[in-house]
Amino acid sequence: GESVGLHLPTLSVQEGDNSIINCAYSNSASDYFIWYKQESGKGPQFIIDIRSNMDKRQGQRVTVLLNKTVKHLSLQIAATQPGDSAVYFCAENTPHNAGNMLTFGGGTRLMVKP
Protein backbone atom coordinates (compact mmCIF):
# COMPACT_ATOMS: atom_id res chain seq x y z
CA GLY A 1 0.00 0.00 0.00
CA GLU A 2 0.93 3.64 -0.28
CA SER A 3 3.20 4.82 2.51
CA VAL A 4 2.08 7.28 5.11
CA GLY A 5 4.50 10.09 5.64
CA LEU A 6 7.06 9.89 2.85
CA HIS A 7 8.86 13.02 4.01
CA LEU A 8 8.40 12.84 7.76
CA PRO A 9 11.15 13.12 10.36
CA THR A 10 12.47 9.65 11.01
CA LEU A 11 13.67 8.02 14.20
CA SER A 12 15.69 4.88 13.69
CA VAL A 13 16.29 2.60 16.69
CA GLN A 14 17.67 -0.84 17.32
CA GLU A 15 15.27 -3.56 18.34
CA GLY A 16 15.17 -3.77 22.12
CA ASP A 17 16.18 -0.17 22.69
CA ASN A 18 13.87 2.48 24.10
CA SER A 19 12.35 5.07 21.76
CA ILE A 20 11.35 8.63 22.53
CA ILE A 21 9.16 10.57 20.14
CA ASN A 22 8.60 14.26 20.79
CA CYS A 23 5.81 16.62 19.86
CA ALA A 24 5.14 20.32 20.38
CA TYR A 25 1.54 21.41 20.55
CA SER A 26 0.21 24.84 19.79
CA ASN A 27 -2.92 25.65 21.77
CA SER A 28 -2.67 26.41 25.49
CA ALA A 29 -6.44 25.77 25.74
CA SER A 30 -5.98 22.12 24.76
CA ASP A 31 -6.97 19.91 27.67
CA TYR A 32 -6.54 16.39 26.38
CA PHE A 33 -3.84 14.75 24.29
CA ILE A 34 -3.64 11.49 22.39
CA TRP A 35 -0.86 9.55 20.71
CA TYR A 36 -1.77 7.57 17.60
CA LYS A 37 0.17 4.99 15.61
CA GLN A 38 -0.47 4.77 11.88
CA GLU A 39 0.74 1.91 9.71
CA SER A 40 0.80 2.08 5.96
CA GLY A 41 -2.67 1.80 4.45
CA LYS A 42 -4.42 1.92 7.82
CA GLY A 43 -6.11 4.52 9.97
CA PRO A 44 -4.59 6.02 13.12
CA GLN A 45 -4.65 3.56 16.02
CA PHE A 46 -5.10 4.86 19.58
CA ILE A 47 -2.07 4.20 21.80
CA ILE A 48 -2.41 6.28 24.94
CA ASP A 49 -3.98 9.50 26.14
CA ILE A 50 -3.37 12.03 28.89
CA ARG A 51 -5.45 14.82 30.38
CA SER A 52 -4.01 18.23 31.10
CA ASN A 53 -4.25 17.76 34.87
CA MET A 54 -1.60 15.03 34.64
CA ASP A 55 2.05 15.15 33.65
CA LYS A 56 2.72 11.45 33.17
CA ARG A 57 0.71 8.38 32.26
CA GLN A 58 1.91 4.83 31.72
CA GLY A 59 0.50 2.05 29.61
CA GLN A 60 1.85 -1.27 28.49
CA ARG A 61 5.41 -0.52 27.25
CA VAL A 62 4.43 3.10 26.60
CA THR A 63 4.63 6.26 28.68
CA VAL A 64 3.39 9.71 27.78
CA LEU A 65 4.86 12.83 29.38
CA LEU A 66 3.18 16.22 29.26
CA ASN A 67 4.93 19.52 29.96
CA LYS A 68 2.32 22.24 29.81
CA THR A 69 4.82 24.98 30.57
CA VAL A 70 6.56 24.53 27.24
CA LYS A 71 3.64 22.83 25.45
CA HIS A 72 5.52 19.62 24.86
CA LEU A 73 4.49 15.98 24.72
CA SER A 74 6.62 12.90 24.46
CA LEU A 75 5.93 9.23 23.86
CA GLN A 76 8.35 6.70 25.27
CA ILE A 77 8.27 3.14 23.99
CA ALA A 78 10.18 0.59 26.04
CA ALA A 79 11.97 -2.36 24.43
CA THR A 80 11.03 -1.31 20.91
CA GLN A 81 9.96 -4.14 18.63
CA PRO A 82 9.80 -4.41 14.82
CA GLY A 83 6.00 -4.25 15.06
CA ASP A 84 6.35 -0.75 16.49
CA SER A 85 7.57 0.53 13.12
CA ALA A 86 4.98 3.06 11.94
CA VAL A 87 4.25 6.78 11.83
CA TYR A 88 3.35 8.29 15.20
CA PHE A 89 1.14 11.35 15.57
CA CYS A 90 0.37 13.40 18.63
CA ALA A 91 -3.04 15.06 18.67
CA GLU A 92 -4.35 17.82 20.88
CA ASN A 93 -8.03 17.98 21.73
CA THR A 94 -9.26 21.55 21.73
CA PRO A 95 -12.70 22.97 22.46
CA HIS A 96 -13.94 24.20 19.10
CA ASN A 97 -17.33 25.51 18.15
CA ALA A 98 -19.89 23.00 19.43
CA GLY A 99 -17.53 20.27 20.51
CA ASN A 100 -13.97 19.09 20.48
CA MET A 101 -11.70 18.69 17.52
CA LEU A 102 -8.38 16.94 17.24
CA THR A 103 -5.45 18.83 15.78
CA PHE A 104 -2.67 16.51 14.68
CA GLY A 105 1.03 17.19 14.72
CA GLY A 106 3.18 16.50 11.70
CA GLY A 107 4.11 12.94 12.62
CA THR A 108 7.33 11.01 13.17
CA ARG A 109 8.28 7.82 11.36
CA LEU A 110 9.75 5.19 13.68
CA MET A 111 11.95 2.56 12.05
CA VAL A 112 13.07 -0.40 14.13
CA LYS A 113 16.17 -2.23 12.98
CA PRO A 114 16.30 -5.94 13.83
Binding site: L6, I34, K42, A91, H96, A98, G99, N100, M101, G105
Partner: protein, 116 residues
Protein backbone atom coordinates in the same frame (compact mmCIF):
# COMPACT_ATOMS: atom_id res chain seq x y z
CA UNK B 1 -15.92 -6.23 18.46
CA UNK B 2 -16.32 -4.26 15.27
CA UNK B 3 -14.39 -1.05 14.87
CA UNK B 4 -15.11 1.85 12.57
CA UNK B 5 -15.75 0.60 9.05
CA UNK B 6 -15.34 2.68 5.91
CA UNK B 7 -16.23 1.92 2.31
CA UNK B 8 -15.07 1.83 -0.33
CA UNK B 9 -11.42 1.41 0.64
CA UNK B 10 -10.32 2.86 -2.68
CA UNK B 11 -12.19 5.12 -5.07
CA UNK B 12 -11.00 6.41 -8.42
CA UNK B 13 -13.09 9.05 -10.13
CA UNK B 14 -12.73 11.39 -13.06
CA UNK B 15 -12.58 15.10 -12.41
CA UNK B 16 -16.09 16.50 -12.26
CA UNK B 17 -17.76 13.33 -11.01
CA UNK B 18 -19.59 13.10 -7.71
CA UNK B 19 -18.46 10.61 -5.06
CA UNK B 20 -19.97 9.28 -1.84
CA UNK B 21 -17.93 7.81 1.00
CA UNK B 22 -19.53 5.76 3.75
CA UNK B 23 -18.69 5.41 7.44
CA UNK B 24 -20.11 2.89 9.91
CA UNK B 25 -19.06 4.04 13.39
CA UNK B 26 -18.65 1.82 16.43
CA UNK B 27 -22.14 0.82 17.57
CA UNK B 28 -23.57 3.22 20.12
CA UNK B 29 -20.97 5.92 19.59
CA UNK B 30 -22.51 9.35 19.86
CA UNK B 31 -19.85 11.42 18.12
CA UNK B 32 -18.66 11.00 14.54
CA UNK B 33 -15.89 12.92 12.83
CA UNK B 34 -14.56 13.17 9.29
CA UNK B 35 -10.93 14.02 8.56
CA UNK B 36 -8.91 14.49 5.39
CA UNK B 37 -5.33 13.22 5.25
CA UNK B 38 -2.98 14.33 2.50
CA UNK B 39 0.10 12.27 1.76
CA UNK B 40 2.81 12.84 4.34
CA UNK B 41 0.64 14.86 6.68
CA UNK B 42 -1.54 14.36 9.71
CA UNK B 43 -5.31 14.17 9.42
CA UNK B 44 -7.18 17.49 9.24
CA UNK B 45 -10.63 18.01 10.71
CA UNK B 46 -13.55 18.35 8.30
CA UNK B 47 -16.80 18.01 10.25
CA UNK B 48 -18.38 16.66 13.45
CA UNK B 49 -21.73 15.05 14.28
CA UNK B 50 -23.31 14.43 17.63
CA UNK B 51 -25.95 11.82 16.90
CA UNK B 52 -27.73 13.11 13.77
CA UNK B 53 -26.86 16.77 14.34
CA UNK B 54 -23.97 18.24 12.39
CA UNK B 55 -22.55 20.58 15.03
CA UNK B 56 -19.41 21.72 13.25
CA UNK B 57 -18.63 21.84 9.55
CA UNK B 58 -15.98 24.51 9.70
CA UNK B 59 -13.30 22.25 8.22
CA UNK B 60 -15.11 21.44 4.98
CA UNK B 61 -12.94 23.00 2.25
CA UNK B 62 -15.74 24.14 -0.04
CA UNK B 63 -19.47 23.92 -0.61
CA UNK B 64 -18.79 20.93 -2.85
CA UNK B 65 -18.34 18.89 0.33
CA UNK B 66 -21.44 17.70 2.14
CA UNK B 67 -21.84 15.25 5.03
CA UNK B 68 -24.89 13.70 6.62
CA UNK B 69 -25.79 11.26 9.39
CA UNK B 70 -29.57 11.09 9.13
CA UNK B 71 -30.27 8.43 11.76
CA UNK B 72 -27.37 9.14 14.05
CA UNK B 73 -25.41 6.08 13.00
CA UNK B 74 -24.02 5.64 9.47
CA UNK B 75 -22.57 8.77 7.88
CA UNK B 76 -21.90 9.68 4.27
CA UNK B 77 -19.42 12.24 3.01
CA UNK B 78 -20.30 13.45 -0.47
CA UNK B 79 -18.05 15.42 -2.76
CA UNK B 80 -19.63 17.02 -5.80
CA UNK B 81 -17.82 17.96 -9.01
CA UNK B 82 -14.55 16.48 -7.76
CA UNK B 83 -11.26 18.25 -8.41
CA UNK B 84 -7.74 16.85 -8.43
CA UNK B 85 -6.96 18.60 -5.14
CA UNK B 86 -9.64 16.45 -3.50
CA UNK B 87 -7.34 13.43 -3.85
CA UNK B 88 -6.55 12.29 -0.30
CA UNK B 89 -7.42 9.70 2.30
CA UNK B 90 -10.73 10.43 4.01
CA UNK B 91 -10.86 9.13 7.57
CA UNK B 92 -13.86 8.66 9.80
CA UNK B 93 -13.63 8.46 13.58
CA UNK B 94 -16.13 7.92 16.36
CA UNK B 95 -16.15 8.36 20.11
CA UNK B 96 -18.51 7.23 22.79
CA UNK B 97 -19.37 10.58 24.33
CA UNK B 98 -20.72 13.88 23.10
CA UNK B 99 -19.53 17.43 22.99
CA UNK B 100 -16.55 18.52 25.04
CA UNK B 101 -15.92 15.09 26.53
CA UNK B 102 -12.34 13.90 26.64
CA UNK B 103 -12.69 10.47 25.11
CA UNK B 104 -10.44 8.99 22.45
CA UNK B 105 -11.55 9.02 18.85
CA UNK B 106 -11.30 5.64 17.14
CA UNK B 107 -10.52 5.71 13.44
CA UNK B 108 -11.42 3.58 10.47
CA UNK B 109 -8.87 2.67 7.81
CA UNK B 110 -10.12 5.39 5.49
CA UNK B 111 -11.11 5.71 1.87
CA UNK B 112 -8.28 6.57 -0.50
CA UNK B 113 -9.76 8.87 -3.15
CA UNK B 114 -7.90 9.49 -6.39
CA UNK B 115 -9.22 12.02 -8.88
CA UNK B 116 -7.91 11.66 -12.42
Amino acid sequence: GAGVSQSPRYKVAKRGQDVALRCDPISGHVSLFWYQQALGQGPEFLTYFQNEAQLDKSGLPSDRFFAERPEGSVSTLKIQRTQQEDSAVYLCASSSQGSYSNQPQHFGDGTRLSIL
